[in-house]
């Protein structure tokens, strides 16, 4: 077999070109792979932010209330109790009251309760938030809808005032409070607090700053809370209850 110098150089050049092409292809494929993974995370994040919309608002409400001098005195965010699990065991002992276990833990928490107290005048604010739309498809079509009950409470100065509110509370039980805009009254006999509360339906997305789920428009949030609390205070005082 005979090779001259030209053949050898040609062979080397071909090998270099081949390696170069294969490196280029490999880099291109790797870049494509990275882009596919990035895209997957982006999609994953859409679901993540959709699940967290209510918690973001709750965090913002806590932040805003504490800035105004309130103290968080009660918080409850729990998964709905799995009714199917609340069965009676073979020994007859009911398992009701046991913490939820198993696949239920994968269900996102969509109901929250907050209670604040002002150390200055002992007035209280309560918030109860429950998401109406939870799935991504629902929220894309209808918005991030949530039913929010806001309550304002003050200490009653005597027993007869608490009794008055209890009468109002009795009437409130006959009202269909699933509809928004109905003012109801509530009295806590032990601590002597009387509350006026109302349910409203909000689109959480309305409180997003620059259309970002993670950013909250605090000015708007504070203004809306102030408007509701102002009216509830009037209802409570206007009835000469406080």
């Amino acid at each position: 077999m005979h090779f001259d110098a030209f053949d050898i150089i040609n062979q080397v050049l071909l090998t270099i070109e081949g390696n170069y092409m294969s490196t280029q292809l490999s880099e291109k494929l790797e870049a494509e792979f990275v882009s596919l993974v990035k895209q997957s995370w982006k999609t994953h994040q859409i679901y993540f932010w959709n699940n967290s919309v209510d918690e973001i608002l709750i965090g913002a409400v806590i932040n805003a209330s504490l800035e105004k001098g309130y103290l968080l005195i009660d918080i409850a965010s729990e998964r709905p109790y799995p009714y199917s699990a609340a069965t009676t065991s073979t020994t007859g002992a009911s398992t009701t009251g046991a913490p939820p276990t198993g696949p239920i833990s994968a269900i996102p928490i969509n109901a929250h309760f907050l209670r604040f107290e002002s150390p200055k005048d002992n007035s209280r604010l309560i918030y109860q938030l429950e998401r109406i739309t939870t799935d991504l498809a629902e929220t894309k079509v209808l918005g991030q809808l949530a039913r929010v009950t806001i309550g304002y409470g003050e200490k009653a100065s005597n027993f007869s005032q608490t009794l008055d509110i209890l009468k109002q509370e009795l009437k409130s039980t006959f009202v269909d409070t699933s509809e928004p805009g109905i003012i109801t009254f509530d009295a806590n006999m032990s601590s002597g607090y009387v509350y006026a509360q109302v349910t409203i339906i909000i689109n959480i997305a309305d409180y997003n700053l620059e259309d970002k789920i993670s950013h909250i428009d605090y000015d708007k949030l504070n203004y809306h809370i102030e408007a509701v609390v102002h009216s509830l205070k009037k209802y409570l005082k206007g009835r000469n209850i406080i």
């Binding site: 993974v37 990035k38 995370w41 993540f48 967290s52 918690e55 973001i56 709750i58 965090g59 913002a60 806590i62 932040n63 504490l66 800035e67 103290l71 968080l72 005195i73 009660d74 918080i75 409850a76 965010s77 729990e78 009251g97 913490p99 928490i109 929250h112 107290e117 002992n122 200490k155 005597n158 027993f159 032990s190 601590s191 002597g192 993670s214 950013h215 909250i216």
Partner: protein, 180 residues
């Protein structure tokens, strides 16, 4: 003071004693939301005095999220508070997220798990839990909740600085696990 006011005061005191851990938890949520990022997960249980909140860090160069857990050990009842005070713990978990994981990470997980033996977060040790896409570092501190709640601004300022320094410590531990 009439009987009604007396009962009211007693009930109010009881409520505020029971709420001390919630007051602390609220302050921690405010600290995190103001300085780090939005609250994205929240879990409080009526079955126990355990509360936890996860925050997504939006512009942090290393951490993907931070979880804060508050556990109350004593002080829910009047007797327990009189005997031991309101004592609990604050646990901070920092998370680094790598967007691609491969089987080599499983070997690293085992290495990390072995190096964790003997590390107790409450005694100042930082425990690292290596999962596939996430690496979590945990630090805990004991806290006298009563002192925090009864104090004015100084104790709150001190706690904020401690939490910030804990998060920085977690960052130092997690730096080596972040892939480019």
């Amino acid at each position: 003071m009439g009987f009604f006011q007396l009962v009211q005061e007693f009930a109010h005191k009881r409520e505020m004693r029971e709420s001390k851990d919630e007051i602390l938890f609220g302050e921690l949520i405010r600290l995190m939301v103001r300085n780090y990022g939005p609250l994205v997960e929240l879990e409080t249980s009526s079955y126990s005095d355990h509360k936890q909140a996860r925050f997504r860090l939006l512009n942090h160069p290393l951490l993907h999220s931070v979880t804060i857990k508050v556990n109350r050990w004593t002080g829910t009842g009047a007797v327990s508070e009189a005997l031991f005070g309101s004592i609990g713990s604050v646990t901070i978990v920092g998370e680094v997220k790598n967007y691609v994981a491969d089987p080599d990470d499983v070997l690293n997980m085992w290495k990390t798990d072995f190096s964790n033996i003997g590390k107790i977060p409450l005694l100042g040790g930082i425990k690292v839990n290596h999962q596939m896409n996430s690496i979590l570092a945990t630090k805990a501190r004991k806290i006298t909740i009563g002192d925090f709640v009864n104090s004015q601004q100084e104790e709150r300022q001190k706690l904020q600085e401690e939490i910030k320094s804990d998060i920085n410590e977690l960052c130092e531990q997690l730096k080596k696990f972040k892939k480019a």
